[in-house]
């Protein structure tokens, strides 16, 4: 490669845990830096750049200002990668979309609720074209490295489509259902190597739904295992409120 790709990292509404996860590549950080020039990253440096080859974007869009900024990022970036559940699906921020907006504001502002404008929390793709996704909450490190190397090599990253169950079973984990818990693994997109079920916790669905999920089937499973229909729907919404918008069980 003649010139190292220029990389910029941006954050919108989110916990910045995904960015932090990038700083957490203690073992690979220097290798990563060898391949690219980081030209803008507010959380770690002062510089601001005019254009870049790859923009990594964290967080969801939740104010009019966010929409303005993301359009600018898109204009300057050749490739735009959404990092983490907030950017890819709207993430946990989307839970606020499931409450009537009036109620949310009242809960937060009390009497001052009409003072402030607010938008639903939206994925980056709601405003601009996203080229690739790194899913997870926080973003899955192994997937970030895969997408990153793919981009450095000039090939398209592959987005997994199978369920977390596949990875979980490949690891021969005891199914958490058999321990009396529930789990969203059957309809959640793999790629995390079943991170949570590997350590005995249920999958909360942070990587988003598989393509064409059988939601009615999933509801049956959750209800069979003791959740009310309402609770089942809430659990599914935790990371997928935007995708489930307008649907019901």
């Amino acid at each position: 490669m003649a010139q190292k790709p220029r990389v910029a990292i941006f954050d919108f509404t989110g916990c910045e845990g995904c960015e932090l996860n990038q700083l957490n590549f203690e073992d690979q950080l220097l290798d990563i830096l060898a391949h690219v020039d980081i030209v803008e990253w507010r959380e770690a440096m002062d510089d601001r750049a005019e254009e870049y080859d790859i923009a990594f974007v964290e967080g969801s869009l939740s104010t009019p200002d966010c929409i303005k900024r993301i359009n600018e990022v898109r204009r300057k970036a050749k490739v735009l990668v959404a990092l983490g559940a907030c950017a890819v699906q709207g993430g946990i921020n989307g839970v606020k979309n499931t409450h009537p907006i009036e109620e949310v504001r009242e809960e937060v502002y009390g009497d001052d609720k009409y003072l402030f404008p607010t938008l639903p929390a939206l994925p980056i793709s709601a405003a601009v074209k996203v080229d690739y996704n790194v899913r997870g909450c926080p973003m899955t490190q192994i997937e970030f490295l895969k997408v990153f190397t793919a981009l450095v090599m000039g090939k398209e990253p592959i987005e997994p489509t199978q369920s977390v169950c596949v990875e979980c079973k490949l690891n021969e984990n005891e199914c958490v259902y058999s321990k009396g818990m529930i789990c969203l693994g059957p309809v959640t997109r793999a790629g995390c190597n079943a991170h949570c079920t590997n350590v005995g916790q249920y999958c909360t669905g942070c990587r988003g739904l598989v393509p064409e999920p059988n939601l009615a089937g999933m509801r049956e499973i959750l209800v069979e295992h003791g959740l009310s229909v309402d609770e089942a729907w809430k659990r599914l919404q935790l990371y997928n409120a935007n995708e489930l918008e307008g649907l019901s069980l």
Binding site: H35, C175, N214, E220
Partner: protein, 340 residues
């Protein structure tokens, strides 16, 4: 045939003795109620009385993830994956799982024989153990008895206070050398009863399936099935795989890996251009069941399902392969006029 009595108290001693010959793999508790084969380190951890392990011993001959080759990108060159014979003792294998291994042997030896599987398969010695069928086992319906000793080198049949130990092959005899066990004279206990049955003789299954291609059961099942692929991954006779490239972060080297794949997964039959040859869950479910009871049996004469019940036991949507098959059987019988 020589039969010995292995007292419960001496199992640890027996396992320790085996470990003196070769590495021993046996079922262990994994999690609260789940079992898995793993390398025996402490003989006390071995569980011989278990319902089923999540994976069969297939994982030792065809690992869930396996390097097919490694490559060097700067040189643009590659090297084949290194495979070694497992050369180990598999202790506590249920009869249906060994039957499944024999089916896989066919898959990997037939046509173009595959080096990886067949090399790993070398040196495997099997010590079977009888089991009490639970609410999911139905291997009786596909001709595999819980005390079926076919293919085993040694077989253990459970008694109240121990096991009848049968030595079945010269390899088995070799393993027993140096272990002094009392002879067993009184014969073997009756085998356990199955709670699950397919209501048609296995020879007729092909015909039943052929008649059931358009049965409504596929659509009915598809309403419940979420396409998670668990039933494929846990099946001891599923052998399909996917191949993926991994490149290391330096972008100079990497490997090509295969991993278990499953026909219940949407992308399994997707090709470039967006065509998915088995688009619906109903089509995929039918393909899975037909792979077990028709397609391969058409050529080999044997069902490819060994009745372990894993796909049903681990299905979160509570889909039972026996119920599907029996539904087809019932509908088939409605259409044929009983002989007078």
């Amino acid at each position: 045939m020589v039969q010995f009595f292995l007292e419960s108290d001496r199992i640890a001693e027996f396992v320790a003795h085996l470990k003196g010959h070769k590495p021993v793999f046996a079922p262990h508790l994994k999690g609260d109620k789940s079992y898995a084969f793993s390398l025996v380190e402490d003989p006390a951890g071995v569980v011989l009385d278990y319902n089923r392990t999540m994976h069969s011993v297939k994982k030792y001959f065809m690992p869930p993830r396996e390097k097919l080759l490694t490559f060097d990108l700067t040189e643009n060159s590659c090297e084949g994956g290194q495979v070694e014979p497992v050369n180990a003792i598999f202790l506590g294998v249920h009869s249906y799982d060994l039957a499944a291994v024999h089916r896989l042997d066919h898959n990997f030896a037939e046509g173009q024989a595959e080096k990886n599987y067949l090399t790993r398969r070398q040196g495997a010695v099997f010590i079977g153990v009888s089991y009490e069928p639970d609410q999911y086992h139905f291997s009786g319906s596909v001709g595999i008895d819980p005390q079926d000793t076919r293919g085993f080198d040694i077989f253990l049949t459970k008694l109240l206070d121990g096991y009848v130990l049968e030595v079945l092959t010269p390899e088995g005899e070799k393993l027993m050398q140096g272990l002094d066990l009392p002879a067993h004279e009184t014969g073997k206990p009756a085998r356990g009863h199955f709670q699950q049955h397919i209501y048609v003789p296995q020879t007729k299954l092909n015909t039943v399936m052929a008649a059931g291609y358009d049965n409504e059961i596929w659509e009915q099942t598809a309403k419940k099935c979420v396409g998670c692929g668990t039933c494929n991954v846990v099946c001891p006779t599923c052998y399909c795989f996917n191949v993926e490239e991994n490149v290391d972060i330096s972008a100079t080297k990497g490997d090509r890996q295969r991993s278990w794949d499953g026909c219940m997964l949407r992308d399994f039959s997707a090709v470039a251009g967006g065509e998915v040859f088995r688009e619906g869950l109903a089509d995929r479910q039918r393909h899975r069941v037909f792979r077990k009871f028709k397609y391969l049996s058409d050529t080999t004469g044997k069902p490819w399902c060994v009745g372990c019940g894993r796909c049903t036991a681990y299905c979160t949507a509570d889909i039972s392969i026996v119920s599907i098959v029996n539904h087809l059987v019932a509908d088939y019988e409605k259409t044929v006029v009983a002989p007078i």
